[in-house]
Symmetry: C2
Subunit: 366 residues, 2 copies
């Protein structure tokens, strides 16, 4: 039944990819509508398709680099891309390393960050590896499988819409990379384009979460299929992600502020017709912890995905508003994010929730 | 009478250099006591001397790089250096450019920034060119003869005491270089180590203000000579700088705050025994404009230097305090800073003083 893995991305795939990546974004990763319009524009302008390769097709010693956007999603929907910022970042790293890239890597599969590497790859004539470093979206740079495995995040490049490119040449920790890049991102206007880390084929094979671009396409396809049949797609999405629907209801309150380079806040939901049956979710770009009537039911690194109830359209943290009718999905995170080493970096306590412990979802085998 | 130009710097020169550079710092450039202690420590530890070469000794195609500290002097006296931060910045640029440096250049001759290139040169076994890009100290990166001549300030490197090194690979304007580097300097704790710009020998010959390290040594020597004879050194210093003593008096008020990466403020002085004869000086790291009884008597780019009345010790903006007995000197800036192109970058209006026009000091031939 399942479609084969992606071998190329054409205009026929962009809608499904945007929906699936939006769901995996768990609120963040950048608005996929903007990413989709940009990707489709580039595909129409340049023709052709983007070649998608399995990680095993990357030679052990070849260089690859992950790319993605940095900044608050609330900024990203107001501050548009120019077009060449990702290329500028990749080319600066090629100059710095004195070597060309063999392929581009998706830094995070969530949100528009799934689509930006495709755009840059089309511009540069490079293939994209099927997979990513998060299996979702996370707000901070050290929160990927590459950093968790101890690989160096430097040299990394950050670029803006004015053609400015900064390279962090070396850093004493992965948290320092995040801090310095965040500071520059704020100076760049709250969003920036990132190329990081440079990975050899061998390192990539050992750390990437495989086939997540195909997963995004499949989730998006499921939503589009359900829409055609006039069905609510939430259960199909949850099933593809081995998870479940945590809550169905209406958003009753949103607190959101863009601060320190992030969109931070919380939202409240009430079940239809049962106003005392409530869910509360906190977010830092991405949804972090969900409480159902005061009890924790899902936490990072597991995915808390909010989709429009009727049509399964993913709702980013920048689009949350009073009155939206939504389903909240809980999907178990990829196993790479649930090791002890990973939970130190992406568990609830890494986000400041000292009293919240990660517990595997029912049925999740870790 | 004049001593010959400097050919090397040894322990015998450090005291005079620190005093002279402090005077030329016009309040900024970094506390020279700390710079002097560091330089003397390195000279004692490593032995030998630092070779000083005239700019004509640099081959046209050889690469040189200017170095100096960035940040507020008020931070620099509290946040000490580690020791290898300048080397780290220079080496990162060598890696990025794929070429070694032939010599180091003094970015600004004022304050401790005259001494830091000497320290780094000793560590790396490189010579230092006699001269600099400012003939004094200025608070912002674009305020040197290299930028005024339109030379690219990128790639530039910024490093901190933790071994972190950032490279700005390309920028759309010299003001952008300043803005992004300032932002990262603040993130780095308010002070950072800078290597910028990379200059070919030919470019350096066309833009450097020559022999200013020798001038700093000569000014310092004059102060030390006057001290030996028990004389007030202000007139000797002013004479060496072709300027004059603008005011003698006591500091009666200092307003100073460290904000946006700078030490900003103003001070008031009253003449001895004549409290209504007053001077007011505003500063942004360096002294910018001096009013004598309400009338402008000296402005950037001319040098407004404050020295201790009795012994000629230069007083940085970080050391200003109520009750100090000082002489205020006005020295005409090097002619390179008084072209129309230069005044757009370093004249009073570039610092926000819309109503203050630069006027050459009496006797200054431009």
């Amino acid at each position: 039944m399942a479609k084969p893995v992606l071998q190329e991305v054409t205009l026929a795939d962009t809608h499904a990819l945007a929906i699936g990546a939006g769901i995996l974004g768990t609120g963040g990763g950048g608005n996929t509508y903007i990413g989709r319009v940009w990707l489709e524009h580039e595909l129409k302008k340049r023709g052709g398709s983007i070649k998608i390769i399995p990680v095993d097709a990357v030679p052990d010693e070849a260089l690859t680099v992950a790319i993605g956007g940095m900044g608050a999603p609330t900024v990203g929907i107001e501050k548009f891309p120019k077009g060449d910022e990702y290329q500028n970042a990749v080319k600066a790293l090629e100059t710095h390393a004195g070597q060309k890239m063999f392929a581009l890597v998706i830094g995070e599969i969530g949100g528009s960050n799934a689509l930006r590497p495709l755009i840059c790859a089309l511009q540069m004539g490079l293939p994209v590896v099927d997979g990513d470093g998060m299996g979702r979206a996370f707000p901070e740079l050290q929160m990927d499988t590459f950093a968790i495995a101890g690989l160096s995040l430097t040299p990394m490049a950050l670029s803006d819409v004015h053609g400015n490119v900064s390279i962090l040449h070396q850093a004493d920790s992965m948290y320092r990379v995040e801090a310095y890049a965040r500071s520059l991102t704020i100076e760049m206007g709250g969003s920036a384009s990132l190329a990081m880390p440079i990975l050899k084929g061998k390192e990539l094979k050992e750390t990437i979460i495989k086939d997540t671009l195909t997963l995004a396409r499949d989730m998006g396809d499921a939503v589009l299929q359900a829409r055609k049949r006039g069905l609510e797609p939430s259960d199909d999405i949850a099933s593809l992600g081995n998870g479940r629907v945590l809550f169905r209801g209406k958003i009753t309150d949103v607190e959101r502020r863009t601060t320190q380079g992030f969109a931070r806040g919380k939202l409240k939901l009430a079940a239809f017709g049962e106003p005392n049956d409530q869910m509360e979710i906190v977010f830092q770009n991405e949804n972090l912890v969900a409480w159902h009537n005061g009890e924790v039911v899902c936490t990072v690194p597991d995915l808390i995905c909010i989709v429009s109830l009727e049509d399964g359209e993913p709702i980013g943290t920048e689009m949350l508003r009073y009155g939206l009718r939504v389903a909240v999905l809980g999907l178990p995170a990829p196993k790479e994010l649930k090791t002890w080493a990973a939970l130190e970096v992406v568990g609830p306590q890494a986000f400041g929730y000292a009293d919240v412990n990660f517990r595997a979802m029912a049925g999740d085998l870790l």
